[in-house]
């Protein structure tokens, strides 16, 4: 039945998971608060980027540096990984065995690593064009904003591996469930930030 009040963001595990159900509200609210503060950090980096869009110091700008095809593939990878994490969350909530859960997490992790790999490749190719962050304010702003998102994705991947390690040791117990719920919030949040990045930085820059 549909809940009357939704008492925390992200997938609610519901009455079938009494161990995680209690305590989830406080923990997930707290994590959501943290994500809001992280959103402010990104927002300010976006504002900084916007104000430095023309500070190219005679050097290359977005049109010279961004490869739309690579960005499109990265975007698909990350978006798909958000979906697969959703599938993992559903396995957690409704599944009776942890096999599918681990499988979906591995797919998510793989997609995340694909995203990171492509992104690092993009950065390296920009470097090789002589357009590293030390060359202009615009490039500094770009390399401040986008790699920060990448660092967050990397942290999420590490966290995912740590949770899977905990699963191997303890099975899917209470702390693992609460960790997966929080990682879910984190992962979807990062996809939201990426929507802003590809829209403002890449598509905006290439228009």
């Amino acid at each position: 039945m549909t809940e009357k009040v939704i008492y925390h963001p992200g997938l609610r595990l519901g009455a079938a998971h009494p161990d995680a159900h209690e305590g989830a509200e406080e923990l997930l609210f707290g994590f959501w608060v943290f994500l809001m503060s992280d959103a402010i950090v990104f927002g300010l980096l976006f504002a900084t980027y916007a104000s430095m869009l023309h500070s190219t110091a005679g050097g290359p700008g977005p049109k010279q540096l961004f490869d739309i095809r690579s960005i499109f593939v990265e975007t698909l990878a990350l978006l798909l990984s958000s979906f697969t994490y959703g599938m993992a969350s559903l396995s957690l909530k409704y599944g009776r065995r942890s096999g599918p859960l681990v499988a979906w997490l591995c797919v998510t992790l793989a997609l995340g690593l694909v995203f990171l790999g492509l992104e690092v490749h993009d950065f390296l190719s920009i470097f090789h064009q002589g357009a590293g962050p030390t060359h202009s304010g615009f490039l500094s702003a770009f390399f401040g904003l986008v790699p920060l998102h990448g660092l967050h994705v990397f942290t999420g991947c590490v966290w995912m591996i740590a949770l899977m390690a905990q699963m191997a040791v303890y099975g899917v117990d209470r702390r693992v469930k609460l960790g997966l719920l929080r990682l879910g919030l984190f992962w979807h949040f990062l996809d939201i930030v990426w929507v802003a990045i590809f829209s403002v930085v890449y598509l905006g820059g290439l228009t």
Binding site: E26, M52, A57, V158, D173, R175
Partner: protein
Amino acid sequence: MSLAHFIFGRLTPDDLPFWQMLQHPTGANIVNGIIATTAGAIVVLGAAVTVGLITRYGKWRLLWSQWLTSVDHKRIGIMYIVLSFVMLTRAVIEAVLMRTQQAFGLDGGFLSPNHFAQLFSTHGTIMIFFMAMPFLTGVINYAMPLQIGARDVSFPVMNSISLGLTAAGAALVMVSLDIGQFSTGGWSGYPPYTEAAFNPGVGPDYWIWALTLSSLGSMMTGINFAVTIYKRRTCGMGFFRMPLFTWTALCTSILMIFAMPPLTVATLLLALDRYLGFHFFTNGLGGNMMNFANLFWLFGHPEVYILILPAFGVYSEVFSTFSGKVLYGYRSLVWATMAIAVLSFTVWVHHFFTMGQSADINAVFGVATMLIGIPTGVKVYDWLFTMYRGRVRLTVPMIYAIAFMMLFVIGGLSGIVLANPSVDYQVHNTLFLVAHFHNMLIPGLLFGMLAAYHFWFPKAFGFRLDERWGMIAAACWIIGFVLAFFPLYAVGLLGFPRRTVAYFNPAYVPYMRVALVGAVFIAAALGSLFVQLWISVRNRQAYGAPAGDPWDGRSLEWATPSPPPEYNFPVLPEVTARDAFTRAKDSGAAYQIPAQFADITIPKNSALGPVLGAAGALIGFGLVWYLWWLTVAATAAAVAAIIVRGFARDTEKVIPASDVEREHMRWLDLVASTRAVSRLRELDAANTGLAAHAIPETAQ
């Protein structure tokens, strides 16, 4: 890179405080060198004495298991306040040094410009980040969970981590006295002066990493407090039944959550510029130094409201408790607090009216700045009306509160003067501004925290503080503040710039001499506080108040023994109105035996806080001195500690119901055998913590 270079980074003997003095013994170098070496020696000696005493009395195990790894909000709160008193001592000494320099600064003085610049930079940085923030965090940590009838904050281990990170930042600032030097860029650290092009040394790096550690700690604290207040209020305590102090704690924590990110961004972007050659704020290649001022004050303005709101909360408690009267205008106080919290994000440009933006922008922010004075005015009237027709008791907290009311309003008025951009163009960065913000911080924040210290000390330790030395301290603070800062208003209007080591206008000298006298009073005030503590500990039997309610308190924290048990309440209280404890005392429902005792589950101690604190300090130190091996190793250790913590499963302990019952009954027996005292005997030895509570004839 040679091996020595790898191991020692950019550390050289030149970074010791006495090296310059020995290499180039000029007069100026000797004077400055002696001061610097003395300061460094005090740090080393202080650390050695502390370690020595702990070893001598065999208290390492106790220190570790009862304090450093504790996740109890009460212990963490006390440790925060201890830290802030240590840092207050250093920062007051720095202030006295600066006042002395300026009193004799006509045509030179005895401090070098570099030394003076470090002094005002460390003074500001320490007072804001390592005195004021820890003090208010400690006070909120101690009192708020008790006030809302909770057992602890929402995230106790994170609480301990916040403390560790704050202490790590403070450690970096202290180490800068012995190794290297601190930033000379003020507490605001503006580029391009703090960029590598102009300041390649370690100073700005110390500043950056100390602030980063502290701001991470504060951000986590903000999250912790906000979630606690949202989710852990006891049964029946709706938002509009919370004590005012808890309301201000909530708004403070929301400010922390949203104000810390801009600081993190500003300092980390500056770090990217300095370490990796980025161009966020540099002079050339597209850098925009004005964005730093913008980002810094996006943080800096809400920060000053973070500093003042808890003090406002304390004053609300003090005014109502020591007038023996319900707080006047509760709802208006709540709305005023929320208005201040929201408006505090709309005024930041007033810190840089002169930076070059158009008059329209300045006007918008000038109007917003004037608006924000209104809710504070509402609060002052509410406090006045609380006192009116009350039975006012002039205890130490009340003295601070009354002094606050008078002095803070003056400072607020000077703020309204400054809010006008055209006037601000005349007085920006003069001593007028310095007088204004000290006028807000000292009678506002500091008196509030000292009042809180005096007010809640008996709750935390089971005995009151000596009232006479408390009065002496308060008097010295008040006289000292007035003498030290009111002349600065005048001399600022006469054109004396801030952060100036020397001056050439003899007209300034009398003002500077008076200000120095004020500084001496302030030093005496600090000394009196230490004397007060010493005497109080010595007389703790006579001042004992173990029954828990020495002031006839109104809120739930007073409904516990002094000190409260680790789990705060044997059974979580149920609340039906504001001033819950007064209600209970009025209706004879206080000091009850619960119908049933249950086992209580609370978190176990955790080493994660001290471990991450130590790791943070080492990461910072490594980054400052280019000891990359240290930074990498400490980062790996920190990450490993967090991941290992994820595997922890045995994180709670159970206190059996029988123990809870025994402790509670012991307290109730104590209360039964305690003589209730009226407010006339509040300061006698007869007051052991039980208030003779007359059931009032009227509802108010």
